[in-house]
Each structure stands twice: as structure tokens, then as C-alpha cells.
Symmetry: C2
Subunit: 200 residues, 2 copies
């Protein structure tokens, strides 16, 4: 589920539903930063009154929470799916493909996640969930090292960071309406990462 | 030259020179965002008056300009050095090593560059310089494809973005006082990128 499918019942001002409010909020946060975005910025971008905005969401903060849940929930689901694979090689392949899928499908929400600075409890909690996810990926890389799929002479943490450096860069340049097919992109990143990390 | 070596003559309030003001300014911009950082934030972090701050720099904007010049100037110098290499393979190796070096040596300034959103003329000009640099790297990747060093079946722009995805991730996790040696890290990224992109 993406933010744009998060609400389907249209209420309040005609033309805007809750999902639109969240989508526009995330756009603004990504353009000018969460801290620098005021509720007035949100209402003027949407062309609605504050009371119309508060009909859809409790606060600016709630928009942040929903978007971060979209991003982190997607990555955690991809990890659950990877964990169900029978071998370390398949688990690592599954999480790389799955993460690229989440990043291309929920690009604005993941962009927000990747730019968090930890300036509030919500941000700190999200960064902690992201750290847990990173540690699980590092564990998969370590398993893949012991199975001989990934070079064992490279620190598993550094290898994970290089793989996710490639994957996370996708949010900076991928365009939904661009020429790059998201599934093929996942296969390319998988190939470059595994060829690059293969034992010599 | 890093921001912390940008000025050596100590003037104004004892204990702070111009380089310190710039260093602290960049730290604050990276923590809370440039737009969200006020001159009062700067003076209270430094513990100086506004007039003491303005003794060192003309404006908050000047701190941004100096930091971006540090980052972009470093990358452009690395590109000049790469261009002087005799073969496409050596030029590509040189720019990968050189960029990792700049990122580890000028991490706060490059972090600022990578998080720019283009909210002012200065930011737009810096993003344009970054784009020119990216295009020059893509040209080096294309040359390396025609020499058979890099897979020709992958778009040169996508290959460049994946390489720089790995390189740029360094600003997120590298620690000057951490266990990872910056020169070795450059060699590892070079190896992973070139093995990963080698023709099959």
C-alpha cells in the first residue's frame, strides 16, 4: 500500500481526500525539510483552510508518522519475505530485489526516511527501526559470506552499506515516468552487487 | 583544504576563528537543515554575539557558499586529475578513488551538497555544478565501456549512478575516528564497482 492508496473515502473539501493531504505533505517535507514546513505551508499548498486540513489529519506530525510507516513497513515486509527463503543466497537476493521494489514504489516516503536527522522522538524511533533493518541485512550478508556467495575479506557492515548505497541512490534519480523499468533495475542492482562482492 | 583549514589567523572573540564559524555553521545546517537554521541559532551555538559572527562572515549564506565551494572544488580537482590519466580505465579508476578521498576528507561539506534541495540561486548553481561533474563521470564510464572495462549492456548513466550511490553513501556512515581506513575504503569501492560492472 502506498500513501496515495492510504485512504479511499473522499471527505472534506471536494477534490482532496486524506491520501492527497499526506501525499502533498510528504512532497513539501521533501522539498523544504520537515522542520521548515509549517501547517500554513501545507494549507496554502493544498488551498484549504486549517480546519479542512485537520478534518483529514491530526497534525503535521501525523503526516510524518504515516509516511515513515509506509516506508519502514514496506522494508520490514520485504525482510519478512526474504527470511522465508530457504538459503542465504536466496535470502540476500530477495532482500535486494525487495528493497529496490519498495524504493521505486514508495519513493517519496523512503526519501523522507533517508533524510531524517533525528530531531524528534518520532524521527529517533524511525531511525531505530531503520537501524534494526540494516542489522538484519548485515546478518544476511554475513550468512552469504559463510556460504561463499560474498567475499569474506570485506567487513559485512561495509559490504551492506555499499549495497544499500546503490539501492538508496535510487530515490535520488529514479523517475516513475522515466525510461528505467523498476523490475529490471532491481535485477541490475542485484547483478552489480553480487558480481562486485563475489569472492575473487 | 578543508573548511577547518580555511582560515588560520584568529580574530574576533578569542577561541573562534573564521574556520570554526564555518565548521559550526555547516554542522548546524546538516543537523537541522539550512532553511531551518537562523543566524540566532548560529550565534547561540557559538556563544557569540551577532556582531562577532559578522566579523567573520557576511551572512549565513556565505557559510553555505564557502562549504559548497569546498565540496564542489574538491570534486572538480579530482576530475581534473582524472582527466590527465592516459587511458579510460585509469581515468575511471582515478575519479572513483579521488571522489572517495574528497568525501572522507570533506565529509560535512559534501553532506551539505548532497542534501541540497535547490531552494535558492546559490543552491541551484551548486546543483548545476554537481550535474556537470556527474555528466563528466558518465562520459568516463562511457569511454570505459568502449574500452571493454565496463559492461556495455548497462546504460552509462545508470552505471554512474550506481557507482556514485556507493561512493556518496560514505558521507552517511564514515567516521573520521572510526575503524575504516579512508584509502583502503577507496580501493574497496573501486574493486566492488569495477568487478560489479565488468563485462560478463
Amino acid at each position: 500500500m502506498t500513501a496515495s492508496s492510504a485512504g479511499s473515502v473522499r471527505r472534506g473539501r471536494p477534490g482532496y481526500d486524506r491520501a492527497d493531504v499526506i501525499r502533498v505533505g510528504v512532497e513539501l517535507f521533501n522539498q523544504q525539510g520537515y522542520d521548515a514546513t509549517s501547517v500554513s505551508d501545507l494549507t496554502s499548498r493544498l488551498g484549504v483552510t486549517k480546519s479542512a486540513l485537520y478534518h483529514h489529519v491530526d497534525s503535521k506530525q501525523q503526516i510524518l508518522e504515516i509516511a515513515l510507516e509506509d516506508a519502514l513497513g514496506g522494508l520490514e515486509q520485504a525482510m519478512d519475505a526474504a527470511q522465508r527463503q530457504p538459503t542465504a543466497a536466496e535470502r540476500l537476493r530477495s532482500i535486494i530485489r525487495g528493497a529496490v521494489h519498495v524504493l521505486t514504489q514508495r519513493q517519496p516516503q523512503v526519501t523522507l526516511l533517508l533524510r531524517l536527522r533525528g530531531n524528534s522522538d518520532i524521527e529517533l524511533a524511525a531511525l531505530e527501526r531503520r537501524r534494526r533493518f540494516d542489522h538484519m541485512v548485515t546478518a544476511l550478508v554475513r550468512e552469504a559470506q559463510s556460504e561463499g556467495l560474498v567475499r569474506a575479506d570485506l567487513d559485512a557492515g561495509v559490504a551492506t552499506r555499499l549495497i544499500f548505497g546503490m539501492i538508496n541512490s535510487v530515490v535520488e534519480w529514479y523517475r516513475v515516468d522515466g525510461p528505467v523499468d523498476p523490475t529490471l533495475l532491481g535485477e541490475e542492482i542485484l547483478a552489480v552487487a553480487l558480481d562486485g562482492l563475489r569472492p575473487r
